[in-house]
């Protein structure tokens, strides 16, 4: 955690957070499936002030060919932030942070995708953060999961994702940007709700063993909320004519 000094009251005497939410209340989440014309599958998510596009291509031929696997399909993932997505303009070249998140998200999605059905091919997941807020990797993961389903790629489960964290010695759901900067801990979690498996978990900040367990449970509860929104996005697409966002 940044641990910056601040006068911000992260949690008031009524248990209300700096943005008016209760401790177990997520920010506004809106997901729309099928927003892109050319991608095989796509989704757009607004998660708090995050605005993220996900586009999926595949299964398709692998280039360069020597990285193809004769036993299974492979998954590639690119998490990228637009130059205008953050306060200080960001260079378009991928930062080390973006490369790490790309890898973490790939490994969070991999358990859900039936890659073994498509040997020698690749599924590409491209995530573009148009506007960044706290929890952008969780939001990106939620959108990626919907985009994969939208592409019709066989999946074992969705991956739903949200962070839990700690502010003012209290475990909270869905850490926003101010809470990430001034709070005590931020733990993004990705979860397969039906298989009950955690496929993404990271932590910045200090937690006791009890708080750690509480955080995991809080995040899993949040993931189940997100899962409903993901399902609705896919249903809406299926029963509409796919108007874009």
């Amino acid at each position: 955690m940044g641990g910056r000094d601040t006068d911000l009251v992260l949690l008031d005497e009524n248990g209300i957070r700096c943005d008016g939410r209760k401790i177990d209340e997520p920010r506004r989440i809106m997901i729309k499936a099928g927003v892109l014309k050319n991608a095989d599958g796509s989704a757009y998510i607004e998660f708090g002030d995050n605005k993220i596009l996900a586009g999926v291509f595949g299964p398709r031929d692998v280039h360069p060919k020597h990285i193809a696997d004769t036993d299974t399909g492979i998954l590639r993932c690119r998490y990228h932030m637009s130059p205008f997505s953050v306060t200080e303009r960001k260079s378009p070249a991928p930062s080390r942070r973006e490369i790490e998140i790309s890898k973490v998200l790939k490994e969070a999605l991999q358990p859900a995708v039936m890659l073994e059905q498509f040997p020698r091919t690749v599924v590409d997941v491209f995530l573009e953060v148009l506007q960044a807020d706290g929890g952008s990797r969780c939001a990106a993961l939620d959108a990626a999961s919907v985009a994969l389903a939208d592409a019709g790629i066989p999946m074992r489960d969705m991956v739903s994702s949200i962070a839990a964290g700690k502010v003012a010695d209290t475990i909270i759901l869905d850490v926003n940007n101010e809470e990430d900067q001034a709070g005590q801990a931020d733990m993004p979690v990705g979860y397969m709700p039906n298989l009950e498996k955690i496929t993404l978990v990271q932590l910045d900040g200090i937690l006791t063993q009890d708080e750690y367990k509480k955080c995991l449970e809080t995040a899993i509860g949040g993931c189940k909320l997100v899962y409903e929104i993901q399902k609705k996005a896919l249903t809406d697409k299926f029963f509409s004519n796919g108007e874009s966002a």
């Binding site: 892109l36 014309k37 050319n38 991608a39 796509s42 607004e46 002030d49 605005k51 596009l53 996900a54 586009g55 291509f57 398709r60 280039h63 690119r78 990228h80 637009s82 130059p83 205008f84 997505s85 953050v86 306060t87 200080e88 303009r89 378009p92 070249a93 590409d124 491209f126 573009e128 148009l130 506007q131 966002a245």
Partner: protein, 275 residues
């Protein structure tokens, strides 16, 4: 057939069909030769950026975000602010788009969009100086193509222009030689004119406005002409594997003014619609 990695290809059947239609005075999507695709423009789509827009030109879609921040001026241009325009075809925009450093076509795209805005004098850069030779305001227009269905030149140009028109310039004051941002004192960008580019393609002897992807892949040559609010030409770029006759170019010049005027009205009427 060439195997150019990230360039889309077109099959011969579709190509012949496009040419046959043109011979009959028709385009495959039913448009007139000098008719651009439908244009939809939203601004304010990236609220945290100082300006932003999303443009749909047919099925081509672009998002532009504007960042405004203090910077050092270019040497010998100490009395001017900075304007820089970039473009990226996001890999989710097309199966042939690939992540990585920009290729020559994307560099050309960015530079043509940049030049159209810069040479029109759209932004009065002399109004963006904090301390002459030391500190100026920079305006960065970054275009992200999110769906690629041909003619990225115009889609990025309209999106950049609309985003600039929507831009609020924060106020900075110098304190200890460092620019410090004064909260809640922003102003509109200093706009002098509205540049509009019109990209035309030649297939055989036919000139068509705003080619879509299928047409784009059949082009013999293309030209992008940008006009300003006075209807004068302020920038121009020829591309493609063949050339134009003088007559064709003269005609293209006139089309750029007439078609550009209509599109300028659309850009002017853009209001912040929210999402």
């Amino acid at each position: 057939m060439p195997n150019l990695g990230n360039t889309p290809l077109i099959d011969e059947l579709k190509s012949n069909q496009i040419r046959d239609f043109l011979e009959q005075g028709k385009r495959i999507d039913g448009r007139a030769f000098d008719e651009p695709r439908s244009i939809s423009i939203e601004i304010g789509v990236i609220p945290k950026a100082e300006g932003s827009a999303r443009v749909r030109l047919g099925n081509t879609e672009v998002i532009t975000g504007i960042k405004v921040q203090p910077d050092r001026p270019f040497p010998d241009l100490g009395d001017k602010g900075i304007f820089i325009c970039t473009a990226e075809i996001l890999p989710l925009a097309h199966p042939t788009a690939e992540p990585g450093p920009p290729q020559e076509d994307v560099i050309e795209l960015a530079r043509v969009v940049d030049r159209g805005i810069r040479e029109s004098g759209m932004i009065d850069l002399s109004k963006l100086v904090l301390v002459k030779d030391k500190s100026v305001i920079g305006i960065f227009a970054d275009n992200s193509v999110i769906d690629h269905d041909g003619n990225l030149f115009d889609a990025c140009a309209y999106s950049s222009t609309a985003a600039i028109l929507s831009t609020k310039i924060p106020k900075w004051e110098m304190q200890d030689d460092v620019p410090v941002k004064i909260e809640d004192q922003e102003s509109d960008a200093p706009i002098t004119t509205i540049p509009v580019s019109v990209t035309m393609g030649r297939i055989g002897k036919h000139i068509i406005v705003d080619p879509n992807m299928d047409e784009w892949l059949c082009l013999d040559a293309r030209i992008t002409i940008t006009t300003n609010s006075d209807g004068n030409i302020c920038a121009l770029q020829k591309g493609g594997k063949d050339g134009f006759t003088l007559d064709q170019l003269t005609k293209c010049g006139e089309t750029s003014t007439s078609v550009g005027a209509k599109i300028r009205e659309i850009i002017k009427q853009t209001k912040e619609t929210g999402q």
